[in-house]
């Protein structure tokens, strides 16, 4: 999608101002309910409707899918425009763009390897928020070990018959489509090579969802059951047996618009600036806690760690500064970032003094329970997509070359 001419710096700066102005004017007023901090926290219809309307507005204004092909609802412009729009949306902390599995997983995959039919059928609905997508990789009892997937897909004429269950399906109860990883060959030589990848319609007899209540008391995930659910044979992506490879390809889009994702923030960014703002308000010994000597040292430690984390993302793009252990920064990023945010958010609750003992719903809770939600929901990140403990194994084995256990 390389453009004929690269935009000039002044064109890009104009665009940045234009995005900022539009976002400032058009951001919706705060509703009388809590907005989710991540796309994994959508537990009610009213939240869903609110976010769906917002995503439509952003797309219609031309700030989502900017680098996707024009004929499928995209903007047909260089990727840099989407990166700028994303930076501005993050900076201004507008509501998240919620259809994340569509925008950042299924969509870029279809752009890259989908047929013309698939592009026409799916892409526009992903961008305008009409078609919600979910992901069906994990299964009960198998966690991150996708090689152990047992959900079956059996070819029968023009359909595949699906049996089994998936878990941790974000928005499973609202989704129209699922990217589904299922086993088509029970006798494959290697357990990964028996898997196939489907763009499966959820409104199919035999597909049911059961919402899962999270540790916060809220909802956002489902368990999804397939009982002789017949999906069209053309929902197979690629060939039978390519499921593992295609599933791995979706992971590369995690780097956002730069890697081909449609764009948009999937979660609001919470940094030390937020903690410092709180520390200027909260009192300890009759004074703002930001003046407390012990607290200050803790805050400085977090700020050093945060700066190193953010600098690491930039250093990863300079190969000569990563020659020693190539891949170290990128492979350890999830572990570092999610564990940092877990500890930092936990500390924010300690910093609040006794107010940290309140919970969502209490009128005195700081920011409606902003940090309570941030900390508790952060476990979705340190557990989902491979727990921190598994991530440490991966880094140890793939970056340092340590033996498997």
């Amino acid at each position: 999608m390389a453009p004929a001419t690269q935009p000039s710096t002044s064109e890009l700066e104009d665009f940045r101002r234009q995005v900022a102005a539009w976002m400032t004017t058009n951001r919706p007023p705060d509703p009388n309910f809590l907005l989710p901090q991540t796309f994994m926290e959508i537990g009610s219809e009213r939240v869903l409707d609110f976010l769906r309307e917002w995503q439509y507005k952003v797309w219609a204004a031309g700030y989502l899918g900017i680098a996707w092909p024009k004929e499928f609802g995209g903007g047909g412009l260089p990727t840099i425009y989407q990166q700028i729009a994303d930076q501005e949306m993050k900076r201004l902390r507008v509501p998240i763009l919620f259809n994340v599995i569509g925008l950042g997983w299924a969509g870029p995959l279809i752009v890259d390897i989908g047929s013309e039919d698939e592009k026409h059928t799916y892409l526009k609905g992903i961008l305008n928020g009409e078609d919600i997508w979910c992901q069906g990789f994990s299964e009960p009892n198998h966690g991150s070990d996708l090689g152990s997937i047992q959900t079956r897909a059996e070819r029968d004429g023009n359909t595949y018959v699906i049996n089994g269950s998936k878990i941790w399906t974000t928005m499973g109860n609202y989704a129209k489509y699922m990217i589904l990883l299922a086993r088509t060959d029970l006798h494959a030589e290697r357990r990964y090579s028996g898997l196939s990848f489907f763009l499966a319609p959820m409104q199919t007899p035999g597909v049911t969802t059961q919402p899962i209540q999270k540790l916060t008391g809220e909802y956002g995930f489902t368990e999804t059951f397939f009982s002789d659910a017949r999906i069209p044979a053309h929902s197979l992506m690629g060939d039978e047996g390519q499921g593992w490879r295609i599933a791995m390809q979706t992971l590369q889009y995690e780097r956002g618009a730069a890697a081909g994702a449609a764009g948009g923030p999937a979660m609001i960014s919470i940094y030390m600036d937020d903690m410092l703002a709180m520390a200027r308000d909260v009192q300890r010994d009759g004074k703002p806690v930001i003046g407390d000597t012990v607290t200050r040292d803790d805050l400085v430690k977090f700020m050093i760690e945060e700066k190193a984390l953010l600098l690491g993302e930039k250093r990863a793009d300079i190969p000569t500064l990563c020659s020693e252990y190539p891949g170290s920064l990128s492979l350890s990023h999830k572990l570092r970032a999610t564990e940092y945010f877990r500890r930092m958010r936990q500390y924010a609750l300690a910093l609040q003094g006794t107010q940290g003992s309140l919970y969502i719903g209490d009128p005195d809770t700081l920011g409606g329970g902003f940090w309570q939600r941030a900390y508790l929901n952060n476990f979705a990140l340190t557990i989902g997509g491979g727990t921190s403990q598994i991530q440490a194994n991966i880094v140890g084995e793939h970056v340092l070359g340590l033996p498997k256990d």
Binding site: L299, I304, L310, T320, S332, A392, G396, G401, L402
Partner: protein
């Protein structure tokens, strides 16, 4: 989004310097060479120092018109990191700091006399400390004596003092902070007493400057900014050296974990060893990101707040990374780690040395607090 400065850049020239430094340090300083210098007087090999000067490393931070190549301090970070990695200990850091003091505060005469000499191999050092405290007031006094000044006092922990041809000495002069250039040949016999250091690869001394007389023209200018900047540069160079040593410490651990078996398994397969080793890698990665961020910011004339924040953060992170890596290197080698023959002790001892150069982690965090927490916000 966070409002912090996140600049990091590394150009082709710096990459070339890095590659050649890596090769040179590896060739000149294998572990046998390092160990053979542990009990030597100088602590470094003068032949290697002479090679370093021929390569032009000492001229990197010195401008063209003063006999250097003018690449700037940023380019030196990669060299110092590799010296740390191979534990090569020529007086490069000490001399670079003295050169930086002259570049920032020296008179034209001082610059013209000494900087071209440094580019060719003249060694020098800073004499700043009088006790264990990097935050202490300077007590060594400079007293007017006609058109000269006489010094009275003792400096401690002066790195590479034996090799230095001149010292930049901090002093109190007419109740103001002053930096004074003192040539080594003005010191009386016995003025330098070598310390016994925890890091046997390093050399430092107590230097008695009492009674030494120098002309008034030995005083530097722009004292406040020069004094602040050289301390920050000192912190950053030691952060780079510590980060390099952290990489070696990590390699040594990984090598042992992938060859040593216990209870029928390679010990690197145990998560109790694997996970902390990954922690060392991540700590080192953080230190490296911070030192090259600082290297990107410090190439200006005088230091901005962002440069100061970057240097201090780099020192905090590098100290902590190496302290952890050295400590774990000893522990993970089991009984072997308790022996002098195991290289892990070299890294652990280097960690102790580095953390005390130009302020330890706590010192820098204390100075970071007002910069990070009390700044006025837009």
């Amino acid at each position: 989004m966070t409002s912090a400065n996140l600049d990091i850049a590394f150009n082709d020239e710096q990459a070339m310097i890095m590659a050649s430094a890596r090769e040179f340090c590896r060739d000149q300083s294998n572990i046998t060479a390092v160990r053979s210098l542990l009990t030597s007087n100088l602590g470094h090999d003068p032949a290697v120092w002479s090679e370093i000067c021929k390569l032009g490393w000492m001229g990197i931070t010195i401008p063209d018109h003063l006999g250097g190549s003018g690449f700037g301090l940023g380019a030196l970070i990669a060299i110092v990191e590799n010296m740390g990695r191979y534990m090569l200990t020529p007086p490069l850091i000490s001399t670079t700091l003295a050169a930086q003091a002259l570049l920032r505060g020296g008179s034209d005469t001082q610059k013209n006399q000494w900087l071209p000499a440094i580019a060719k191999g003249c060694c020098a050092t800073l004499a700043l400390l009088e006790n264990e405290d990097w935050g202490a007031d300077i007590k060594l006094s400079a007293i007017d004596a006609g058109d000269k000044i006489t010094l009275q006092g003792v400096k401690k922990f002066v790195a590479d003092a034996q090799a230095a041809e001149f010292f930049i000495v901090s002093a109190r002069y007419r109740d103001q902070l002053m930096l004074v250039l003192v040539e080594a040949n003005r010191l009386p016999a016995g003025a330098i007493t070598e310390n016994i250091l925890i890091d046997q690869t390093k050399r430092a001394s107590t230097v008695n400057f009492s009674g030494v007389t120098v002309p008034v023209t030995a005083c530097l200018n722009h004292i406040a900014t020069t004094f602040r900047d050289i301390k920050l540069i000192g912190a950053l160079l030691h952060a780079a050296e510590a980060t390099g040593c952290c990489a070696t410490s990590l390699d040594t651990i990984v090598s042992y974990l992938t060859t040593r078996s216990q209870f029928g398994r390679l010990i690197g397969s145990y998560q109790a060893l694997k996970h902390p080793t990954v922690d060392i890698l991540m700590q080192m990665d953080s230190a490296r990101s911070l030192i090259y961020h600082a290297a990107t910011l410090i190439d200006g004339e005088s230091f901005s707040i962002d440069s100061e924040i970057a240097c201090r953060m780099a020192k905090v992170q590098a100290d902590e990374a190496l302290l952890f890596a050295g400590d774990r290197a000893v522990q993970f080698h089991g009984a072997m780690g308790f022996t002098f023959d195991c290289d892990a002790q070299l890294y652990l001892r280097r960690a102790q040395w580095c953390q005390h150069q130009y302020g330890d982690a706590q010192h820098h965090r204390k100075h970071l607090a007002p910069l990070l927490l009390d700044a006025t916000h837009e």
